[in-house]
Symmetry: none
Subunit: 199 residues, 4 copies
DNA sequence: CATGAATGAGCCTTCATTCAT
DNA sequence: GATGAATGAAGGCTCATTCAT
């Protein structure tokens, strides 16, 4: 196994543990065990716990971004892209919810790592920004709004709504109506939106 | 000073320190110093560091919610309420940004406490939900959308956009166009929104 | 209440707590509460926790010695005095056993305070020594043995046997045959003792 | 050095320190220093200070019991066994007295650990009980007395007398007349004992 | 006098990091 | 390279003692 592959092994183990316990509560030994290696070996690949954490988060973000790009590339028009993004977020949040539930008392840690997801959002914003800019030029999105504002509307709405649905709904009622979600973003929540509809 | 007032004193100090350093990096001694009392005194009022943290966060949330309720109560129609909410969020985020900047290496800790703001969002959602429900019945908002979805759109968009503006803009360009923000939420980001406009 | 009476109040409270918890596990506050006074008040009467402990132990020893003297004075010949002493010890040990049982985890503390009883023994030895010396001169005890040795035989046997009986017997079988105990001490445990018996 | 050997090393160091300072006044660091290792290393071998203490005491008791068994096994008749036991106790008490004297203010701690010796006594009782039972069946000891009572007489007398001699005598006069000690136990302290003697 | 809120020295314990094997 | 035994810095928490009321 090459050095790079080994690092990835450790990243995978570290993601698991960091996400379920948070930075401080995670012991290097936990990660080593999870990766099936010795404690000292971790230090052959990473300078310190903090560096490992930073790189693990970066690795995580990169994975997320790559997956998102793939997911968006499959669709042509912006509505479909938004829907794809919402489905993607649902999956990510669900994965982490699962991790959190493993922990009985994950209050503090959930907080800490929850914020990593926030960070992801910022980065996803950059990916979406491209799609948004393109959609504006194609006449799919309002040209009179700052592209960043449109991106924020999409991102914010999706994150907020999906989190809510997953975290606070009973498992069987977690069905999210993605079409309506896209509709709310595209046509707005104001009453005029439907009074003016052509169809 | 009554016991309750003293606890509030400690809450204020604890908020400061917890928000700038995060839970784990905060030493009880730090909080005591900030409050101008001895280390042992903290333990006269709180069982443990964790309990102090939990109660401090609850205290913080309560303050936020109270302020938000006041801010919303000053306005009649939903557009103004959204604008008020956006201005309120701007202020909160600015305050925390300020705290983070005090710390040299606040990356990790910022993550942790950033999530507390997320938690606030969930709670703010409940406050907004009332306003939204009322606005729907007054015909200001679309009745065909789940109220929770509308709330998420407002909350998510505002949080995302304001965070972005404050965190990544140069100070002098932090001007946020609140009216446009409200417009994006109310009329949507899709191109139809403006093609159908009456004026 | 005079200063001396108040000190005695505190001694009584302190005995209770010290005997059930040991020196280190006892908090001044425990004693204050037990005595029905404030923590600070204890310091009006005693310099420090250690001093309070030393004086409490001395107070305890004095009480024991006084009671023992009274118990012994009631009897004329040495056999009866030994029996009286054995009954006295049974009572003391029972009292302390009771205290220990109040505590869930009294292992360590029992050790510590158990030794105070040992100390009592040394002092009781001095009281018994007088009775022994007198009994020797009255021809009741062997004149060819060092009085201290006789005292040790009485004290040691009684303490050991009574402790055993009380600590490790089922409550209902705690009956101690005091006459046989005295007999063992007076006539010895060797087989000759009975082969030579006159009766 | 094997794990078990290392634990024994720590036991030896811990015995030293616990016996001279008592449980509470002993710092883990003291033990580590005495054992020539780091503070954290102690925790590689023992869960907590309390566990280390309990196991150290058990280790001590085991050693004492083993040595006692060896000492008793060397002799045939019960008189010699009692003498051997008395010499054994003298040695143990002398060792601990030495430790106590190292400490200027060992009053409190001496108490605490002195009680460990008491505990030893209880265990030694079980060992002696065997020898006593055997001696009864061989006709060396009175069959009309409860074996436990005989054991208590031996144990109690020896412990009490030897402690007294060692603790309160000037070093040069510590000579203990073991034969007379055995005689007191075997023939009793009553005057009849000698009036009935055959010789 | 009596009180108990305030204090901070002190210690157990954890765990990132090192390094001999 | 890989390992895990050894280390000691660091921090939460306790409680004897003080002192303002």
């Amino acid at each position: 196994m090459s050095r790079e592959e080994k690092k990835n092994e450790i990243f995978r183990a570290a993601s698991q543990v960091f996400f379920s316990k948070g930075f401080e509560k995670t012991k290097i030994e936990d990660i080593a065990k999870q990766a099936g290696i010795g404690k000292g070996t971790v230090y052959e690949y990473f300078e310190s716990k903090l560096q490992l954490f930073e790189e693990t988060i970066a690795f995580y973000h990169q994975n997320v971004i790559n997956s998102l790009c793939e997911a968006l590339a499959r669709w042509e028009n912006i509505g479909d892209k938004i829907k794809a993004y919402a489905q993607f977020m649902t999956e990510i949040i669900s994965n982490h919810i699962h991790l959190f539930e493993l922990m009985a008392d994950s209050r503090v840690m959930a907080r800490e790592m929850g914020a990593v997801i926030l960070e992801s959002n910022i980065r996803m914003g950059d990916v979406l920004l491209e799609a948004v800019t393109e959609a504006i030029s194609k006449g799919e999105l309002r040209p009179d709004l700052e592209p960043r504002l449109i991106t924020s509307t999409i991102l914010g709405t999706v994150t907020q709504y999906c989190s809510l649905k997953i975290m606070f709904s009973e498992p069987e009622t977690q069905k999210i109506d993605y079409d309506r979600l896209v509709d709310a973003v595209m046509r707005g929540v104001g009453a005029e939106a439907i009074s003016n509809q052509t169809s």
